[in-house]
Symmetry: C2
Subunit: 503 residues, 2 copies
Amino acid sequence: MTHPALDQLKARLQELQSYAGAAAVLRWDQETYMPPRGVEARARQLATLARLMHQRFTEPVVGEWLQQLEEEALPQWDPDGDDARLVRLVRYEYDRAVKVPTEWVTAFARLTTEAREAWKDARALADFSRFQPYLERLVAMVREYAHFFEPFDHIYDPLLERFERGMKTAQVEALFAPLRERQPALLRRILERPQVDDAFLHRYYDPERQLAFVHRMVADIGFDFARGRIDLSTHPFTTSFSVHDVRFTVRYKTDDLSEVLTGALHEMGHALYEQGIDPKFDGLPLAEGASLGVHESQSRFWENIIGRSLAFWKHFLPALRQVFPENLADVTPEAFYKAVNRVQPGFIRVEADEVTYNLHILLRFELEVALLSDDLKVADLPAAWNEKMQAYLGLTPPNDAQGVLQDIHWSQGYFGYFPTYTLGNLISAQLWNAMQTDLGDPYALVEKGDFGPILDWLREKVHRHGAKFEPQELVRRVTGSDIQAEPYLDYLEAKYSQVYGLN
Amino acid sequence: MTHPALDQLKARLQELQSYAGAAAVLRWDQETYMPPRGVEARARQLATLARLMHQRFTEPVVGEWLQQLEEEALPQWDPDGDDARLVRLVRYEYDRAVKVPTEWVTAFARLTTEAREAWKDARALADFSRFQPYLERLVAMVREYAHFFEPFDHIYDPLLERFERGMKTAQVEALFAPLRERQPALLRRILERPQVDDAFLHRYYDPERQLAFVHRMVADIGFDFARGRIDLSTHPFTTSFSVHDVRFTVRYKTDDLSEVLTGALHEMGHALYEQGIDPKFDGLPLAEGASLGVHESQSRFWENIIGRSLAFWKHFLPALRQVFPENLADVTPEAFYKAVNRVQPGFIRVEADEVTYNLHILLRFELEVALLSDDLKVADLPAAWNEKMQAYLGLTPPNDAQGVLQDIHWSQGYFGYFPTYTLGNLISAQLWNAMQTDLGDPYALVEKGDFGPILDWLREKVHRHGAKFEPQELVRRVTGSDIQAEPYLDYLEAKYSQVYGLN
């Protein structure tokens, strides 16, 4: 299983991984500790590293190594072996990278840096017109990007592919169709019922005690603090610099305890995935998640299926009550469970409950496809946004800051990214069903605080493989079927029938 | 003042500066926040960046740009202009860099990584034999390094040059000779006097309140938190990622208030230097201190000449007393001043007072010169150390952890570094004298908390120039004379005559 070109390729990949890890540290620092005036030098450092990585990866010699391996080694190798899969993955990424001219990469990096600042101002002032010219240029550049990958079935396909390898627009359309029917129907039934009480979540919660509890909770579940840490940031995220250095961030609100709890469980889900990748892949592109969708399945699994379950709060509420006796002495696990599952349509995606979350994604997906297909002008985007908000959620944002300007993604050129959130939701339910088949009643384990078998199952089935398998292949290997919408919808309807006492 | 080669050179230097800044972030993170298991990947990332920087800097095209500029541009340029000085500095660094083979750089990086771990173990176990084989290899490699720079007057010269541009061993010998006489004499006189009382510094001091006071103190003096921050680390240090992102670290002891105070003032001195460099140099090698000695003059100036003055505590003690009324209600500025200037020979350099500090450096300098000149075997080093400790300080370390193993420097291959600490002390007193000539009585300003004129003077005379001038040239420009020992010795004798009531 050795070949001189394999050693050379791996050395180059490890070099690139060192730059990528360094860049990730720089981005982590930017979001957590960097003083305000550090931003300019940081942008220079990151742009220099990005250019270096693109240059070193797209050098023709990398293509020559791949070709040698494909001709001389792959035919003899086990096609599911690590090295064979590595070569396939690198070939895939190399062919995509060389299609994109360095000039486009550089210009796009410059545009997104400017657009991010313009978006920040526009959002702060709730003034879409300040962002519009940048968004127009972004859409134009993203369309240009898509055309590097001609021929395609749909112009949105190459964008989706950036974040979800192998996924097509037509598949997303087919998966999202049943959500478009059943989730609004579920929402309507819930809104007819009396609202659950979550007032106790909105008492004053001391930040230090919130953070101390979160550290304890994620350590109990299995997050390894010798190989990771938690910091604060405005927007929670997870990052890794190696499989042995995986960090996530949280934020808290003193008047909303659920913010830190659900945020920490979400990011912990991402972080457990990264910590669970087989260390033998460290330093190679295999040491990543299979896709954003599969990554999100892990965060949503821990945040929602485990972290918003009755069993979870039967286990953790006593400890939480000890930390905040003044607020929670009279709260039962059942009341806590209902409160963290309160359904309430709102303007903001990141604050959405499980029942409305995918509706926010549907809206963005449809608008992105319309923009890319030239069926919608950027100038008409705010009106289209508000129309869809009314149709899906029965709400009209009071201003664009609460509407079309709320997400950072477009300012960063991330078109094709949003659908992966919903794919993650769908996959999480499929994994949950498969886990139940193997483990019986995982909630019985959760109620005892015995998270080991659950985490071990995820590590064995999903985490350890990293990016070795394509995302849809991985889902098939673990669940025996393609990505489907029905398991998630069934899970939602069953759970919220319980929470809201639907018939 | 433009030339195509200048633009190309600057672009390359800015690229290199981006890598250097990224590497500095990685090292900062390693000392402050990195989880324990992150160390392996971090070493890989830093080694990859180091190799990249050496390769990109020593490419022949850099030498060609320099030659073009020297032939075609320098003769027309103002020799003291920024660009002329930049070309001179880069030529100096380039000629040094190309003399060192990449294989030596790589092997040395590997050896120092291993040696650092061996040194840690050896120090923890107070067992020199665990470090000895590494130190032997280090001395051999450092001697090899020196020989890349033949011919030289003294084998120690090229090592000194790594940290103090233009400084020769013979000069250091000449500067250190009067210290060797007058500092032990001063110490003997002090030890005959009654000891000052510093018991109140050793009451219990709450860490959070210590850190809050330190933040306020350095902000009042002029450290800019929009362009920097303070973190905790085991060994305090200062680093910068640009002139707009300068960070330092502190450590505290709950039973020794002086630890955080003097440590913060010391590192703040380094940090003010970095924050004071002219922003037009940002991204170029001019945006660094002139040398380690000049850098240390800034840290020692703020730590000792200002921070251990009576005027300083007349100003700051009332605020500090408000933070720790339970410990300091009955302490006068005079008593505080005496306590922070308590002289007590000890084993550990970093805990040494002003009167004994240089004696620790003399010892190390003499041992380094003996090792490099092959007058001393590594195996005989612990005995030689203890002999000199007895001669200079009248003490014999109880074990090698308190003796020859106390400093990290040799494990990192930093031979030639220690003298810069003492050079910094000497320069700090010369700057103080020059400042007095210009500002009258700076202590009158300090007593009022009016640090502006003092910081402005340092910025104007020293900080803004960065590495534009050679260190000895800079000292001459500011003080009108070469580096001298007498001003520092006079300062010491005057101050400690006051503190200890000597005749």
